[in-house]
């Protein structure tokens, strides 16, 4: 009984259970879901393919964003709804550096790493803008980030003079590696990028006080201030870190199709990122957080999306299914329901004893 309680109390329980349910469902409906095959792609490289690979591949951006979103949620008690728009800005800035003024360059104007670093700086600046509004001007995070949510995609279009740059494989074969495959490696590159991000954040949380400080600011701002922390700086920092995550996600997104469409790139991804944090059992009102749970939450969402695609559910109905998940989560975590459930448990226990 105690061990069962321990398991269900663990924060990883909800996302792992959700993952398990989805996996079981697919196993029963079609065991072929788990088949992974090795084949040749059109460049002649051997690559792995199958639904599981697709989930790991397509879920990468979301997992990376979930890292930043978890920190922002924990520190500020609110969410950043501008990540999709800032991905457009970051991607646009990257392409602007790569292409210069020519939307179809014969060769790149700058090394990819330079473009990526510029995009990182740009995204971190926009993160800092959001963070400043939240930390120093004490605006509700959702309201503060609404500004970039509205204006971001127009800014992205303006960066490239409203043209849509395309990087052809002849200009740079390696640009497509980040969202595709590196020759000779059969696993999609985004998976590696996501793993690197996870390792970095794990090391940071282990060897610095970032996690502790973030949580204490989220739990009680004034008492952490009395203890010598600077809550504003920490909130700002969390938004800047999210900015960095956004830049990495932008690299993958742009590299996947080697072009950009400002109005649709990473559309509605902010909602998925917030959902990932919620699925991870983290309180959306801030405070304690569990990073692995959020990341697993992100893959659960991708698992759900891929499953629905497999069963040919109309893709414009996907948000409705996600909404059902959100409703379940929110209702289950509401204090009223929790109290009722624990009361019910006690009753069952008492009843059990009587019978015994």
């Amino acid at each position: 009984m105690n061990t069962l309680k321990k398991i269900t109390k663990n924060q990883l329980f909800i996302p792992l259970a959700a993952l398990l349910i989805l996996a079981m469902f697919n196993l029963i409906m079609d065991p072929g879901f788990f088949k992974i095959t090795l084949g040749q792609n059109n460049m002649g490289n051997y690559v792995l393919s199958g639904y599981l690979i697709t989930i790991l591949d397509s879920g990468s951006e979301l997992a990376i964003l979930a890292i930043g979103m978890t920190l922002v949620t924990a520190a500020s008690g609110g969410q950043d709804i501008s990540v999709g728009a800032v991905i457009a800005i970051g991607g646009s800035a990257m392409l602007r550096v790569l292409c210069g003024n020519d939307p179809k360059p014969a060769q790149l104007h700058a090394p990819i790493i330079v473009a990526f670093l510029v995009s990182c700086i740009v995204c971190m600046l926009f993160g800092a803008f959001n963070g400043t509004l939240v930390a120093y001007f004490k605006i509700q995070p959702m309201v503060a980030t609404l500004i970039m949510y509205t204006a971001g995609r127009s800014i992205a279009a303006w960066i490239n003079n409203n043209t849509l740059p395309v990087i052809s494989p002849t200009a740079s074969p390696s640009f497509a590696y980040f969202g595709g495959f590196i020759p000779g490696i059969p696993i999609p590159t985004p998976v590696f990028i996501a793993i690197i991000c996870m390792i970095i954040i794990a090391l940071v949380l282990k060897f610095t006080n970032l996690g502790l400080y973030t949580q204490s600011v989220g739990i009680n701002e004034s008492s952490s201030k009395l203890n010598g922390l600077n809550p504003q700086a920490i909130k700002l920092l969390s938004f800047v870190i999210l900015g960095l995550c956004v830049a990495v996600a932008a690299l993958i997104k742009v590299s996947r199709i080697q072009t950009i469409n400002y109005s649709v790139i990473a559309k509605d991804i902010e909602m998925d990122a917030i959902l990932a944090v919620a699925l991870g059992g983290n309180a959306l009102s801030g405070g304690k957080f569990n990073m692995p749970a959020s990341i697993i939450g992100a893959y659960v969402i991708q698992f759900l999306t891929t499953t629905l695609y497999k069963f040919k559910v109309q893709s414009d109905a996907l948000p409705a299914y996600k909404a059902v998940v959100v409703i379940l989560l929110v209702v289950l975590s509401a204090p009223v329901v929790r109290e009722y459930l624990s009361g019910l448990k006690k009753k069952i226990k008492a009843g059990g004893k009587e019978v015994a």
């Binding site: 697709t54 893709s315 414009d316």
Partner: protein
């Protein structure tokens, strides 16, 4: 009190950032695509610019036109459309043109009222929404201003405008489906990737394919999904079909972006596509890069959605000015479909947007 200060500050910040966009947008203009970004600010919704220079004392000979369009930032189609209009309605061609951009109907109506007060000779309109135009068009008629609709129709009495120049999306779909039928495959297993559901382009391009699939036993839809004009979504949809192991030989994507996403999925799965290959790839809109894919035989077909309405409008104005009448109210533009087997570099240069 604190809140009020904050609100003021915030709005100031927004204003400054928008203004910054505007001025830079103008000065950064590289002149590509006919300088289409001209005076449009990226963040705001309406801008009115007069493009004529001040040599206008002799402007008695010039025809004054007020052009109300959607924001050129909206899409590549709109950018090309705006550039085409700007290139046509110049002083050299005998016009004095003023432009107003908005994606919002009410702002467009306000702009129309302003143009009526300014006493333009012609009002050219691509309406954001079909409803709500009756009274303002009536005002225009009373003031003796001729109204010409382009690109989009409105729900108003036909007597209120001289002509309407539009694309026939259903015909675009038919042209594409007829071309596909002409390929003579023994079996058509189609992955159909749709645009945003309910949009005119989606309805027209879907309708023709749906009819054909219903009519012919050898035509099957492997999947029919909306990717909402989004390349990544299209990639995931096609990836899902590939993972399931179902066979298909046609990708019918309702715009170029989605076709590109689909091709990315094919490439990573090692499925050959293009002329004489396993899978036929079809797109719409004729982006320049897409036509180049056709030229390289990686795709098979691209259907045009013609953004070049300026010459049609010019012709109508010339007819009206010389006292002639327009025989047809609704003018449907010629729209081509390009086949990778016959496309030439000249086509790419002329029709690519």
């Amino acid at each position: 009190m604190k809140k009020r200060v904050l609100a003021t500050l915030l709005s100031a910040v927004m204003l400054v950032s928008l203004a910054a966009c505007g001025s830079n947008g103008g000065s950064n203009d590289t002149g590509s695509a006919g300088g289409s970004t001209g005076g449009s600010t990226s963040g705001s919704t309406t801008t009115t610019t007069t493009t004529t220079t001040d040599s206008g004392s002799s402007s008695g000979a010039l025809i004054k036109v007020g052009i109300i369009n959607n924001d050129p930032n909206e899409s590549g189609y709109r950018t090309a459309n705006d550039a085409d209009l700007k290139a046509m309605f110049t002083e050299a061609n005998g016009y004095e043109a003023s432009f107003a951009y908005s994606l919002k109907n009410d702002e467009q109506i306000t702009a129309a009222q302003k143009f009526i007060q300014d006493g333009v000779d012609y009002l050219l309109l691509s309406a954001a929404d079909t409803a709500g135009w009756d009274s303002v068009l009536k005002d225009a008629q009373d003031a003796g201003i001729s109204v010409i609709l382009f690109d989009r129709t409105i729900d108003a009495d036909e007597s209120l405008y001289e002509a309407s120049i539009v694309s026939d999306m259903a015909k675009e779909g038919e042209t594409a489906v007829n071309w596909l039928a002409g390929q003579g495959l023994s079996e058509y297993n189609v992955i159909h990737i749709q645009g945003v559901m309910g949009s005119a382009a989606q309805q027209g391009r879907t309708g023709a394919l749906d009819d054909k699939v219903k009519a012919e036993a050898s035509w099957n839809l492997v999947t029919q999904q909306t990717a909402e004009w989004n390349a990544e979504k299209a990639q995931q949809i096609v990836q899902s079909v590939i993972d399931s192991g179902e066979s298909f030989n046609v990708i019918y994507a309702e715009n170029d972006d989605m076709a590109k996403g689909a091709v990315a999925a094919l490439d990573s799965a090692g499925i050959s596509h293009g002329v004489g290959k396993d899978v036929i790839v079809m797109g719409f809109d004729c982006n320049k890069w897409a036509l180049e894919e056709l030229l390289n035989k990686n795709w098979n077909y691209d259907g045009q959605c013609n953004p070049f309405q300026a010459s049609y409008i010019d012709e109508i104005i010339k007819t009206l000015e010389s006292g002639g009448t327009i025989s047809q109210k609704t003018i449907i533009m010629d729209e081509k479909g390009f086949d990778a087997a016959t496309i030439t570099q000249a086509d790419v240069d002329q029709y690519g947007i």
